[in-house]
Structure formats: C-alpha cells, structure tokens
C-alpha cells in the first residue's frame, strides 16, 4: 500500500473513532440522566442501599464504639469513638447542596488539565500524520512528537485516575473508603497508561530508525 493511501486509511480510522466516542458518550450521558430521573421519581436510592446497607443501619447521631464481625472468618473490626454527624438521609438533606457546589468547582478544575492534554495529543497526532503524508517519516521532529504524545497520554491516564478517585472520594458516604470499594468502584485508566508506554517504546525504536536513516543517507 502506498504511503498516501495508508495516511488516508489512518485518517478515516481516526474520524470513525472520534465519531464513535462522541456518539457513545452521548448515549451513556442520556442513559445516566434517564436512570437518575427514574430514581428520583421513584425515590429509590439503589446505590446507597446496595453499597452502604450496613452503614445506613448503623449510623446514629453522637459517638459510639462499634464492632463489626465478618460472617465468613469471624474476624472482628473495632471502631472506637466514631462520630456520626447524622444518618445518611439526613446528611444528604442537610449537606448535599453545599457539597455539590464545592465539588463541582473541584471537578471542573480537575477536568481542565485533562481537556488541555487531550487537545495537545490530538494536535500533535495531526502534525505527525501530516508529516508522514509529506513523506517526511524518519525525522527528529517526528520522534519528538511521538515522545510527547506518549508522555501526554501517560499524564492523561494519571490525571484521569486521580480525577476518578477524587470523584469517588467526593461522592463517598460514611466509611465508604475501604480498598475493596476503591478498586471495585473507581475506574482507573490503565488502558491509556498501557497505550502511552507502548507509544514511548515505539518512539525509542523510531529514534533508532532515524539513526539508521542518517547512516544510510551518508553511504555513497
């Protein structure tokens, strides 16, 4: 296949991918909104009941010593002088508005570097493909672009994971911060991290390719 056709193919794939991502995000958003509306309409809080069943039952006002017993292996967990502000429903009624406003600002600020990194990644990718279409493949500038793309995608993955954890942390209820719940609930962006490291490896191979090309050019 000729380079021009390859570039056209790659561009088409990227366009299809971007279109699919936007469509998918739109449907996910629509589904979540619909679910939220349905839950609010029926006054059923599935999430709270499913994950925090035990906490909802135990939560009381004031200080208390609590002992939890694991039913499978009879391990005990003692919590002394735990202060409960209110029960979960009361907490939501009292503090939800304040928390939402505060965390909304935090989430907005956290989204900004993600957005900038994504824009930077796509701009660099565009320049890279553009350079390939001009038959300038093994150039030092392309090696730099690949390296920066890999760094940006690794940073994107790390930022996204921090954002996801922050989002989970801000939305957590009382005692909802055990490692099991973090792993089970937070979606760490490991695929992007894997992709970034792979891209970094390719960039190092690309560097070797540039050296070989230089040597080939200087062979008479």
């Amino acid at each position: 296949m000729k380079t021009k056709n390859q570039v056209t193919l790659i561009k088409s794939f990227y366009l299809i991918l971007i279109f699919s991502i936007i469509t998918y995000a739109f449907f996910i958003s629509a589904r979540n909104t619909s679910k939220k509306d349905r839950n609010e309409a029926t006054k059923i809080e599935h999430y709270k009941v499913a994950v925090y069943e035990k906490e909802v039952q135990l939560v009381q006002k004031g200080q208390k010593n609590i002992q939890w017993v694991n039913k499978k292996n009879s391990d005990t967990l003692n919590l002394k002088n735990v202060t409960f502000v209110a029960d979960a429903q009361l907490l939501n009624k009292k503090y939800k508005t304040v928390q939402t406003n505060f965390y909304k600002v935090v989430v907005d600020i956290a989204l900004l570097p993600l957005f900038i990194l994504m824009i930077y990644f796509f701009a660099t990718l565009y320049n890279f493909i553009d350079s390939i279409s001009k038959e300038k493949i093994f150039e030092f500038e392309n090696y730099r672009r690949l390296k920066l793309m890999s760094y940006s995608i690794i940073a994107l993955s790390i930022f996204d994971s921090i954002f996801q954890y922050g989002n989970f942390y801000s939305n957590r209820k009382i005692f909802a911060n055990t490692p099991y719940e973090v792993v089970n609930t937070v979606e760490f962006d490991l695929i992007s991290l894997f992709f970034g490291i792979t891209l970094l490896t390719i960039s190092f191979v690309f560097k070797k390719g540039i050296d070989l090309k230089k040597e080939q050019d200087l062979t008479i």
Binding site: E215, L218, T219, I220
Partner: protein, 67 residues
C-alpha cells in the same frame, strides 16, 4: 575519522572536474561532495570501483589511513 579521502588530489592529477566525475560515475554532485569533504559514513565497493575505473587509479590512491 582516521580515514582521509584524497579525491580532490586525484581529480587535480587527472585534471578532471567534480561535475565531470559525477556524470561519468553516475553519482549526484551532493553525494560526491559528501564523499570529498569526508562527511560520508560508508562507501559502497561498487562506487569505489567506478571511481577507480574513471580516474584510472587504485583504492589506496583515494583512501588514506592516518592513525
């Protein structure tokens, strides 16, 4: 690099210009210039044979090793 290219000396001895040599050998002027200035990383045996044939000399006349 300890290898010196004495192409310009041989060209002067044979009273031949670089353009003429490039036309006869079939190498571009830029490549021949790279060879003459010593920037070349490697020389193909085929190219060396052509240059020797045109200049009527031995490879040792063009290449010199100075430690």
């Amino acid at each position: 690099m300890p290898i010196i290219i004495n192409l310009d000396v041989m060209l002067a001895k044979r009273k031949m210009s670089l353009t003429e040599l490039s036309e006869k050998v079939g190498i571009t002027m830029s490549n021949l210039s790279i060879l003459k200035t010593g920037k070349a990383k490697a020389v193909r045996l085929e190219t060396l044979a052509s240059i020797c044939e045109i200049l009527n000399c031995q490879p040792g006349d063009i290449l010199e090793f100075t430690p």
